[in-house]
């Protein structure tokens, strides 16, 4: 797909969800269960965004990606911040691939 088109499609999908409640007031009266599910969607999204892709991207050494995210998770658990865990995971994966 054309990346520019994809970026704009993504922008449109985002803007719709943000703009709609200003005009469709019934949205604030949705059932509680529905609202609860919607709040869990971002967490539910994270699983398939990691697996199985992280294993499949390194077909010869599937543990290379796995090692990378393990290190990222370990450091993210101890401290806030994203850059250090991400850089460390790149270094880890690079080291495994270079072995």
């Amino acid at each position: 797909m054309n990346p520019t088109v994809a970026i704009l499609i993504s922008a449109l999908a985002t803007f719709i969800t943000r703009l709609l409640p200003y005009y469709a007031t019934w949205l604030s009266r949705l059932p509680r269960f529905f609202a609860k599910s919607l709040r869990l969607l971002p967490i539910a999204a994270l699983g398939p965004l990691i697996f199985p892709g992280v294993l499949l991207d390194y077909p010869d050494r599937w543990w290379a990606g796995l090692g990378g995210i393990a290190v990222a998770s370990l450091f993210a658990w101890r401290k806030n911040g994203m850059i250090i865990p991400i850089l460390l995971s790149i270094v880890t994966t690079w080291a495994i691939l270079a072995l």
Binding site: S10, L19, I43, I50
Partner: protein, 232 residues
């Protein structure tokens, strides 16, 4: 304590969000480089979307060659929570806002902007919200540009390993969720990852649709078994 909701106050309240967004946006810039996007496309991404998880999701689906329809629905779903934030925020807005100001305020309603804005007593004046959103927006866009720049000067030998960036980023986000909300967050993510693996690996479903199905089913099942306080 009552404080006047001026433009300056909006900038002041937006500063912590700026600082929070900047490093995350650097990570996004790196991801865009890794995807092979041009610098201007990466910046267009952040300027036009201005959404954390939605952008990362879109980038991931672009990388896996999903269809535009799959991308559209997935991004729509992950951003569904904005419906509720917008509904709440729109009730607190100054009634005298011009018609063109509402869409602009809607565009800048991120999770963080929302949680800062709703803490104030209503009515919320436009100038305060514009300053709050504008400051956050600058953090997001300038961080993306910085990330693209860093991606450009990374040594070539690291290029293949950089493919792990997006996964590392999602892992960090997940780890933060588990820290805040407990092991149930991990269970939901693991469940939806398992469904996605089965749907794409065994049943050979297209990545995008499989993603939508696994995300929805895990969220519904999660909502059935988790109580309100845990979700927060």
């Amino acid at each position: 304590m009552e404080r006047p909701l001026t433009f300056t106050q909006g900038c002041r309240d937006g500063l912590p969000i700026f600082i929070g967004y900047f490093p995350t946006a650097i990570a996004f810039g790196l991801v865009c480089r890794d995807l092979g996007l041009r610098s201007w496309q990466a910046i267009l991404f952040s300027v036009s979307n201005f959404a954390g998880s939605g952008q990362f999701l879109a980038a991931s689906l672009m990388g896996s060659g999903a269809l535009l329809a799959e991308l559209f629905i997935s991004v729509l779903l992950i951003n569904m929570r904005y419906l509720f934030m917008g509904a709440e925020l729109s009730r607190k807005l100054d009634a005298n806002l011009a018609a063109w100001q509402r869409p602009l305020i809607a565009f800048g309603t991120t999770d963080e902007v929302f949680s800062v804005a709703v803490l104030n007593p209503s009515p919320l004046p436009g100038r305060y919200l514009f300053a709050l959103e504008g400051t956050s927006f600058l953090g997001w866009v300038s961080g993306t540009a910085t990330g693209v720049l860093i991606g450009t000067i990374l040594p070539l030998r690291l290029q293949l390993a950089v493919g792990v960036t997006l996964y590392a980023l999602f892992t960090v986000l997940l780890t933060q969720q588990v820290r805040q909300k407990g092991v149930m967050a991990l269970a939901i993510a693991a469940f939806s990852a398992a469904i996605h693996t089965i749907l794409t690996g065994i049943l050979s479903l297209p990545v995008g649709w499989s993603f939508v199905i696994s995300m929805l089913s895990a969220a519904f099942i999660g909502a059935l078994i988790i109580d309100e306080e845990t979700i927060g």
